[in-house]
């Protein structure tokens, strides 16, 4: 837990299409900079397709096939670093769909073992750590949980288990890409509370990707708004809600209010 600040500077992601004139690059993410600090929540918001997830993937260099990173660098406490060694050691991740993020042929304990292997601990110490991590996310009451297969668990339980794996890795930073999208409202609320408590109590640095401004209002210290591959507005969450400057931000806020506020 030594690292304090993880900063991505000028991340760009491109795809390409073949035309008669040759290869034509298409920029999907342009010059995105993000700063994660321990104990703080940074929310990355924007409409679908604005490049939020790609920017996160670029941070860890796990871009999908057909895209590649172009430019940008990642700094850990000010020192430039390769993205690959960050995975699982400095940055843990929680994916959007818990149902598919677990191998159906492997139990929760198997998945935890894999995480521990990356962290370099096994055996009895590892088993105790698994128990603690599951208890931390509220899955500690049932001793059967480690032996369960993913299809024997609910979506909310799986998302908790995924967060437990993230805790197990001991990484100081957590990237959560729309962690509540696939869950019902009750489970959503619980997961968000869990994430908030982890940031408060453990000093985790959280980057939460979402298009739900309700989530932002509930959790975020700082917000970055993306539109068409770039960050159009960034700043403290309170300021953004009080005084949105960019049309994109205003549109998102308006859409949110139209959806969630009962007309007077």
């Amino acid at each position: 837990m030594s690292a304090r600040v993880l900063r991505a500077e000028g991340l760009s992601v491109e795809s390409w299409r073949d035309t008669r004139a040759g290869r034509e690059a298409v920029l999907l993410v342009r010059d995105v900079s993000l700063e994660m600090r321990v104990g703080e929540v940074l929310a990355l918001v924007g409409a679908s397709g604005s490049g939020k997830s790609l920017a996160c993937a670029a941070l860890l260099d796990v871009l999908p096939p057909g895209t590649r990173r172009r430019g940008g660098r990642v700094l850990l406490d000010g020192a430039e670093t390769e993205p690959a060694p960050l995975r699982g050691r400095v940055v843990a991740s929680v994916l959007q769909a818990p149902r598919t993020a677990f191998n159906p042929l492997r139990t929760i304990a198997d998945h935890a073992g894999e995480t521990l292997a990356v962290a370099g601990s096994r055996g009895r110490v590892g088993r105790a750590a698994i128990g603690r991590a599951l208890a931390d996310v509220g899955l500690g009451d049932d001793p059967r949980v480690p032996g369960l297969y993913p299809f024997q668990m609910s979506g909310g339980m799986l998302q908790r288990a995924m967060i437990a794996l993230a805790l197990l890795s001991g990484a100081p930073f957590l990237v959560a890409d729309e962690p509540t999208t696939d869950l019902d409202l009750v489970a959503q609320g619980r997961i968000l509370d869990l994430l908030a408590s982890l940031v408060r109590e453990r000093g985790l640095g959280l980057l939460i990707v979402t298009h739900d401004l309700g989530v932002v209002a509930r959790l975020a210290d700082r917000v970055a708004v993306m539109e068409a591959g770039r960050i159009v507005e960034a700043g403290p969450a309170a300021a953004l809600f009080a005084d949105p400057r960019e049309p994109t931000t205003r549109a998102l806020l308006a859409a949110h209010r139209a959806l969630h506020e009962v007309p007077a």
Partner: protein
């Protein structure tokens, strides 16, 4: 998907399983249970009809046919086992490498596969035997060379599909090394369809071994082998047709048993294929 796939008829599957298991058992314990020495020539008792001493009779040199059939099971199935092991190792490593690494390596390895896929087993075997001489080892090598590419292709296809699963991405993001990802998340998805294919291929490969030996290219007399036995019996076909029937029946039953077993395994282990067949 529409559940109209051909149902697994458990009765015939059980029969196929027993048949296949019986042949495997014979191959394993054969030398312990043969009633006579399969190589012992006894010219005083040539061409004996089935009787209580020689249950299936004797051949043109007075050798006990049942003993030779049992000993032949080990020759044929043993060489098939070696072929399968080599093919699986080659297929898994080449296909796994191509699928996991991708890019140029994938392209090069797959073109190599294409080259091998163009050469029919028998042509390759004839070439090998022409160049290196007859013998079981050359036959085994020829069958391996003409079959591994199928396995490599199938493994690569499965790996490419499994690689796109979210849990593989999750493992990558969690920092798991590629080899661990392959072993933990990809291999378990590759093995069942591959096992079904391998079982289906046992019969196929047994036919190759017997066929090449029948032509005099593989196992050499006097080693007991089903194809060799048919070739030996060919000269007496019109007067003693039973001499051809016994080894022929052994080959047919072995191929049938392993084929049905492989079919059933595929129905069980490859749900996508079962669903596809129903359409």
């Amino acid at each position: 998907m529409i559940p109209t796939a051909r149902p697994v008829r458990s009765g015939s599957v059980a029969a196929a399983g027993i048949l296949a298991a019986g042949f495997v058992l014979l191959a394993l314990v054969g030398p312990l249970v043969v009633p006579h020495d399969p190589l012992a020539v006894d010219l005083a008792h040539r061409f004996e009809a089935p009787n209580l001493v020689h249950l299936l009779g004797t051949d043109h040199l007075g050798r006990d046919i049942l003993s030779r059939l049992i000993a032949g099971a080990r020759t044929t199935l043993g060489s098939v086992l070696v072929v399968l092991a080599l093919v699986l190792v080659l297929g898994l490593s080449v296909g796994g490498l191509a699928g996991m690494v991708g890019g140029r390596l994938d392209a090069v390895l797959m073109r190599l596969c294409d080259v091998f896929l163009t050469i029919p087993t028998f042509v390759l075997a004839l070439f090998m035997i022409g160049a290196l001489g007859t013998g079981l080892v050359n036959v085994v090598v020829a069958i391996v060379l003409s079959h591994w590419a199928w396995y490599a292709r199938i493994v690569r296809g499965l790996v490419l599909e499994l690689k796109t699963r979210d849990y593989v991405l999750a493992a990558r993001i969690a920092g798991a090394p590629p080899l661990a990802i392959f072993a933990e998340h990809v291999l378990p998805g590759v093995v069942p369809p591959l096992a079904a294919l391998a079982t289906l291929d046992i019969g196929h490969m047994a036919l190759h071994v017997a066929g090449l030996s029948f032509l005099g290219l593989g196992v050499q007399p006097p080693t007991p082998e089903w194809g060799v036995m048919i070739n030996d019996a060919r000269a007496f076909f019109w007067t003693r047709p039973l001499l051809v029937v016994w080894p022929g029946l052994a080959i047919a039953l072995a191929v049938l048993g392993f084929n049905r077993l492989g079919d059933a395994l595929r129905d069980r282990l490859d749900p996508a294929l079962v669903a596809g067949r129903g359409l």
